[in-house]
Subunit: 467 residues, 2 copies
Amino acid sequence: MAIEDVTTRLRNPEAAQTVIAILQQRFADKVQTGEAFRAQHAHTTTYLPAQLPDAVFFAESAEDVKAVVKACAAHKVPVIPFGTGSSLEGQVNAPEGGISIDFSRMNRVLAVNAEDLDCTVEPGITREELNAYLRDTGLFFPIDPGANASIGGMASTRASGTNAVRYGTMKDVVLAVTAVTADGEEITTASRARKSSAGYDLTRLFVGAEGTLGVITSVTLKLAGIPEKIAGGVSSFATLEDACNAVIMTIQMGIPVARIELLDALQVKACNAYSGLDFPETPLLLLEFHGSEQAVAMQSEQFAEIAAECGGSEFVWTANAEERNRLWKARHNAYWAGRALKPDYEGFSTDVCVPISRLADCVRETQADIAAEGILAPVVGHAGDGNFHLLVLFDKDKPGEIEKIEAFTVRLAERAIAMGGTSTGEHGVGQGKKRVVGKELGSAVAMMRAIKQALDPDNIFNPGKIF
Amino acid sequence: MAIEDVTTRLRNPEAAQTVIAILQQRFADKVQTGEAFRAQHAHTTTYLPAQLPDAVFFAESAEDVKAVVKACAAHKVPVIPFGTGSSLEGQVNAPEGGISIDFSRMNRVLAVNAEDLDCTVEPGITREELNAYLRDTGLFFPIDPGANASIGGMASTRASGTNAVRYGTMKDVVLAVTAVTADGEEITTASRARKSSAGYDLTRLFVGAEGTLGVITSVTLKLAGIPEKIAGGVSSFATLEDACNAVIMTIQMGIPVARIELLDALQVKACNAYSGLDFPETPLLLLEFHGSEQAVAMQSEQFAEIAAECGGSEFVWTANAEERNRLWKARHNAYWAGRALKPDYEGFSTDVCVPISRLADCVRETQADIAAEGILAPVVGHAGDGNFHLLVLFDKDKPGEIEKIEAFTVRLAERAIAMGGTSTGEHGVGQGKKRVVGKELGSAVAMMRAIKQALDPDNIFNPGKIF
């Protein structure tokens, strides 16, 4: 991991030290300045260099967060919220230094309202911790981005994942947040009501703001009932078009599929090699259905007919958990299988999202670009949403390699935008997609900037992200 | 309808005349200043007095809207977007005069992407016009607020209605909008992708902003597949608690009910009298299920078991359209049945929304308040969301009556807020709920004001609403 010296970028190098001294006096060892702590709280998941904060603050309460924000606001020092560090576009980097607020100690469940299918949690709780807590209630938190991310981080990057096609994204499941704003006070964006027309949708403004408008201190979430049965299955297709047609028909018919994942031929090849599988090395769809025994059987049979109509292989499905895990093994190990294609290379993940009618086109044109550039990048897609990921494998020591893949990701984003899609379906802008967000949204970015300026005039909240 | 003279409130009485002259020169009779036009474009649906705009502009294109906004911005004259005028909290009133932009001529469907289940429309199209247009595609626009409202108006008030429990609200189905901002230019808030993490959620910021941040010029909507079958049924319950328990169990079990409506005893009585029905005059639930023949039968049977368990009457259901309409007659005629309780009174509709665990409490306490005050106000609820409406019947000529019902609606909102709910589930703030939005959201309102100030510094967009 390359560490970039950010001291020259600090707006006021002494200010951070002043804030650290103030916080140390009041909070003692909740404040850590050792390089190991700071390096751990910088960006570590891609080719972007790590930019370390000046200190890490381990918050234990909303009062702690208010104190940090007040001290930072008084001295115009950046505040960078940190969940688990699993964001993928440099969201936790500190390009201008500042205080990283670590939320791992703010991981309590504050309330579960089982009758209302909602709960309120502190932002540092991870989705797996939350689901372990909920197990006895018959409810679960359905959003699954892969990583065991924190709820605050997932809200801030508008995360989603494999089952968004059924359960939505963080924009759909967050009912309200509390957040500390630039004046160091806490606001509550909404009530626990399922719906409201009471003024501007501040909840949705914080969801996806990547910590640039304030620091989230609690999140109220919709929950779902744990399905009585889960069925899963797989079907291979000769072409991307065939696979995507099956996805389109599934969505059009309103089959409430819980997951519908696409692996391209290279990813299938990688999975076969890594997990000892023997799928045809052509596009593969993996599906999951949630519901009563009768419902998942009905849905699986409906999809089997669609697969047959679209020229897919026989749809092999099961409601037996062990069998299902075996069928889904290719998807579960996709990341490590991809990495194993070139064990000595680095890998980073990028995503775009297009209307599903363009998914096959976008993947195919991207594969052609990959081939032309001599890049290795298997594709895994949340096909029901038109969202797909590339695991780009690269040799970080080879001159020109970073520039090549950066140019490739810009072309990828431009291709998605030209097809009516977005430069990022679920990873966010962070630092990595700043160069393309203007291509996608044009002058709407000026409106975002005006909001940022109005709510955070000194730009203390996670500077250098989105804009 | 009382018409309030607003001339004394104008910030600059000559400015509006200047703008009208500019627009008349360029647009001739797209500009109308006659009192009949102006009165028709003021608020007409409640006890709030009508406040007329200075002129009505019949926009035919986004270019027209840009021209009006530019002229108004240059002279700091208010701009009030007008769809069909069916909003319920005074959203289209012109308390400071200004130009009402009528969207009835901007009612084209700009694109339908059937494979992607989306379409883009001009804001003036009504939901019934859109559904008539879509009929041959096998798709429909599912949000149904009762009135044949315009899509732009529905987006602006974050409308929902009877089937929000299944299909969501406008916040869930709007993929993107284009809007003319205070500089007279048009922005696009998002792409057609199903999901995106590209920066702030400006789409959701415009949805529910009631025209206070800009003027929507097109809306891109998610559509749903027309269900193969629709089943409907009814069940009576001895108490509100029993009925609400049945609702809670239905939601908890994840039965994908399309509509689940609650009528209180007074509303049932009104419906019996109005439509010649003979339901027991106790709380009534009406349900609708959408899906395959097999699915709606399964869901109806599941609900029948729940109703039995909660002490409801036998759940009578059918998948025959004529029979279903007969069963649902009470709901379809609920408004006019309510009005018929006191044909010589005025009626206005108010709504709140609470977590469903508190729905029975909130309705019961509200009924007690109604009884104590001697008000007549039947209840109809979108029970699956915890949202309910009161049709408040009042004698507008009786001294003190308006003050009494205003105080009653404030208590209603406070009651909902105290139960973890919202002062308005779907009607919006407009003028009518301004007095309670601060009670609900506290200092979050200051953040809304800061956004308003940043995006519309001269307060030209629908002034006097929300704040």
